[in-house]
Subunit: 468 residues, 3 copies
């Protein structure tokens, strides 16, 4: 018995399913454009074998360990590193058994789809994961990971990735990207400029980060002009390593466009540590507009990922640090928040700003109406918790009638889980084909147009929007 249904995610009604399948056949094997994600560039640079199955699938994947935690398993039992050096489980097989014996928790989730896709297509497994099959899985995956065909670059090629972007801090020296570039390997791995650490005054180590930014760039980051120049310099450096985009992970989408003197005074308060919470939010807001201005200058695509309340549990944050599954979405407003930025540069030819949200209520109320009129705005795909079949369906249903398809940008996998990349793109392609098939059968789109749109959503829009 296969883990995967050949017709998974296609509509149940036969006529619609037939069209969805026909559409999917034309996009299933297209190369993967992965313009936004968080895989580790070290993998491609060093091309080392992946360690054991637990470290490949469980320990680094917050989708997986958050679900296990929700049912009473502790992070330390899953080998998640403890920030304070407290011992955590190190036995990969023990971690794998804990995961396997709770695999039923993932029923109905996209994680289940991604994992089964990896298990079947990469490891040729057709028996369901469970306590009973845990050792079989562990041994099979371990055996394969020892083979050269399962090293990162081989998988990259097997996955048919045409281009993948990683995300690095503004302070990163991009050594791994340099190694990749110098290696002669043909895989296209590019970086993305992520300046949160030197823009967000609430970021851990902000003052030190700022000092480091000055050192790296030789700019006078004590002045606002010098600080902006430092960004200019780093953006240019990132572009040397293929970057075509920047990424901004702010708690809100708030923007500001202060008169220069006010912006300088705000920056002074931020740098001397006297900034209030309002100041810090205002500075993040101001910097989104400044970054948009720099994008007008240098042509980099700007991505705004807003709305996550990071590290909701104080105890988990203190014990295990960031990115431990306790980031929770919040209501996010875009209409008033983006107005200052849009008044400043919203009609600039050539500027592209891609918006992401964790608050689905804004799809139809705010984001589609905004992207459906401002030439600079495009909508990113359903993000994070919404990178899932129903999440994708809601996105198309709520966005398309106002913004159409051509103000969206195809799919981003946004993942740290390397093996899930083909699975995620496959899910997105299937769900989009299902949506298009329904439009065809209900007379809302001609069949020949659906084939064109399917190709656009699977490949062309991402490539064009990110200038790849």
């Amino acid at each position: 018995m296969a883990l995967l249904d050949e017709d998974r995610l296609f509509p149940a009604t036969p006529r619609v399913r037939d069209i969805a399948r026909a559409l999917y056949r034309t996009v299933a094997d297209l190369p993967i454009i992965s313009p936004h994600g968080h895989t580790d560039p070290r993998w491609y640079a060093e091309n080392q074998r992946f360690p054991d199955p637990a470290q490949l699938f469980v320990t680094p994947d917050h989708y997986i360990f958050r679900m296990l935690v929700s049912q009473g398993i502790r992070l330390e039992e899953l080998g998640v590193p403890d920030a304070n050096g407290v011992a955590t489980e190190t036995d990969g097989r023990a971690i794998w058994h804990r995961f396997a014996s709770h695999y039923h928790l993932f029923r109905g989730t996209p994680t289940r789809l991604w994992l089964d896709h990896s298990f079947q297509t990469l490891f040729d497994i057709e028996r369901r994961l469970s306590a009973e099959t845990a050792d079989f899985y562990y041994d099979r995956i371990s055996d394969r990971l020892a083979q050269d065909a399962y090293r990162p670059r081989a998988l990259f090629e097997r996955f048919n990735i045409e281009a993948i972007a990683t995300t690095e801090s503004a302070l990163d020296d991009l050594a791994h990207h340099r190694t990749i570039r110098d290696s002669g390997w043909g895989g296209r791995v590019i970086t993305t400029y992520r300046p949160d650490a030197v823009i967000d005054p609430d970021f851990p180590g902000f003052a030190a980060n700022l000092a480091r930014l000055g050192e790296i760039t030789g700019c006078d980051v004590a002045s606002y002009a010098g600080y902006l120049d430092a960004h200019r310099a780093r953006r240019a450096y990132f572009r040397d390593f293929g970057a075509t985009a920047t990424d901004h992970g702010h708690p809100t989408a708030r923007t500001a466009d202060l008169p220069r003197a006010e912006a300088e005074a705000l920056f002074a308060r931020v740098t001397d540590g006297s900034a209030s919470a309002d100041d810090r939010e205002a500075f993040r807001a101001q910097m989104l507009t400044e970054m948009a201005r720099l994008s007008v200058e240098d042509g980099m695509v700007m991505q705004i990922h807003a709305g996550s309340f990071r590290s909701h549990s104080d105890r988990v944050a203190a014990g295990f640090g960031r990115d431990k599954g306790f980031d929770i979405p919040q209501p996010t407003n875009y209409v008033t928040a983006l107005k200052p930025l849009l008044d400043a540069v919203g009609l600039e030819p050539g500027l592209t700003i891609i918006l992401f949200t964790l608050d689905e209520t804004v799809y139809s109320r705010e984001l589609a109406p905004l992207a459906g009129v401002y030439p600079c705005l495009k909508l990113g795909p359903p993000w994070w918790f919404f990178d899932a079949p129903e999440g994708m369906k809601r996105f198309r249903e709520q966005v398309t009638e106002t913004a159409g398809f051509y103000n969206t940008v195809g799919f981003n996998d946004d993942t740290r889980a390397f093996c899930s990349i083909p699975a995620r793109h496959d899910v997105a392609r299937r769900v989009d084909c299902a949506y298009l098939a329904d439009l065809v059968v209900t007379g809302r789109l001609a069949e020949d147009e659906a084939f064109e749109v399917a190709h656009d959503l699977a490949y062309r829009l991402a490539k064009e929007a990110y200038r790849l």
Copy 2:
């Protein structure tokens, strides 16, 4: 190849589709009740030929030009009049070509459905609009517009419109309506009382508008009592031209019911120009309650259209003025907002208040629970961006279980685009029949009841709710 699928918008499952089709057949040809819209009464008064295809379809329709603008076309390239007299495109054929060569942008949007409906049913075109067919279209449509059968009154009759309401400012002399009335033509064209210009202190020219209101009515609009009397007089005047309803386009749904002395003091601040932003919002709020009281007096149906952030782009507003596609929805609260009005008159027999929203989150959370208990409240159809198949589906799915069908009021086309009227009503009728058919097949509604409800939604509820 036809542009329109005979079974468009019907569910894909054959048994459901059969029932939807059967329901639709009984309502497809019912007369159109159009109780809320923005067509130009001059058309019916003067019965002039429509100008060229671009001026009929593109230049006045914000649904169309906003989508083109979102992909980098400038308003001036589409012949949209510039507020400052800057030259814009005047060549209709050039505008039409720009539109035609971007027709793929409308894939999946209701605009596409409406346009194809007009092209096929009015202009007998069966080839898809594109750069290649642009001239064919332009010539065909131009030829037809030159025929008497395409003058406004002929189209009105062809569209089988039983009654249509236009919307006029409280200051309008209703000259066109007078002309229509005196012309002996049998078409029923009525007006609607829209007093925003003399109620909203933020409306351009408010002070002058108020002075003009005093002149027209002979009332002392320096006093609150006189101001309310002026409204009484204008409402009566509008009723003389068929008006059965008023319409209120406020940024929020906030209402207030201040003690008389406070209301008078607030009015004084509003009229002497000393009102703060809070005062101005409070005055709009107070006036919704006063308008509801006047509706109790004179029996006019009250419509509240809340939640649009008008003219979001300062630059577009300065360059092109209002209604240029840059109105963006905002989160809108109704529960606390409407309480003062509802405490004042919410249980009054005979009062009807129809609520519209651009924030779909309130359908199930606020509007259906409110309309499902307050006898004065009814829900208007999905408005503006939500006047679309998925928008209509969400409305029914989120409203019906709490408010049923009989606290809704059928369909409003709300349009300036004359040719889209039959297309829009056709979409609404099809989507409602699809929804009803699904209820039948899933055992939630008996088939004989579905036929009755289909007729109610297509015709009777609008006629009764608006007292037409």
Copy 3:
């Protein structure tokens, strides 16, 4: 002609319907676990006959009378008791006729499904209710209610209820539960600890309630420590009558975890009547955390029902009192609101907090992400207005991809309407089976797993979550 379709609520596509039907067959006859509801324990204690059909179906059911009120019928015409002693209709047959002649208002609502289920399965009626059949119904139901087989305990057994929880005020002496326990009858009827009357300073009679709490428990409720001890004592008392859960019906989900001295000072202001509105909200917030701490101590499951604006119409509240259909949902935030409680006890092993909402926007944005990681949090079923087929579908679609099935707790009927209990559980079972069947056909869940999940959702999860 039957009132009920055998396949009601199953998907229309034949293959999906077949699987839904197969799943449903395995859960249709499972015993009912009803862990949260508002039936009257007097019924089971005294086992008296139910009075006339109007008093059984119409007068006590706010779902029914609110819909009739929305179409202009007055509460007094329906026999709803007037708080001020004004005469209301007492003729059951007259009330029944008013209801029957407006039965079309319920088309498309869950009330219609529940009523038809009762009419057909309990009273063997197969003709639709209408003005014409009103007397037939009234006579048939009256006849049956006179039979012993229609007394509460007989119906309880006929409904196959394994356990039912009622809800009592913290001040209730639980006399009816004592009677039930002492009667030797085998039905399992347990209570639930609902302390709003002694926790919410805005509750009518709060000061007197607090004094009464002191009398009952012998605790010094003038001190915060004594007040908390009084809760401890009452919770223990409730547990003696089977209670496994507490229930908290706050206007918001706000929680607080004040330093002890601040909490004591706040309590002092609350008890001496000097508390501001902010204080009163802060006290409710603080008490949710205290109640969670007591749950850690005593193992009671905590339920938070947040977000209802109670008694929205001042006039109805003054005339008829609480629970008259004028409770309206409000936007509700959980992410920042629950943080203090979760920081205090969110990772405690053994603690279970079940969250309910009237704001569906939080399903995917807040509740699923929270319950998908915090081990103490579980999601209650769609509540109140959302206890309906589309509401349930939205719940599963928006929750499952992030939180899975095992962070939800099966179905609660939450009803005062005894006859609706089997109907409501039947609707939930059917809708869940329909959802599971769709997952199976779209390759998102294996068929054998769907059978297991169907059983979990219909029976096991409720039993385990509520520790029954």
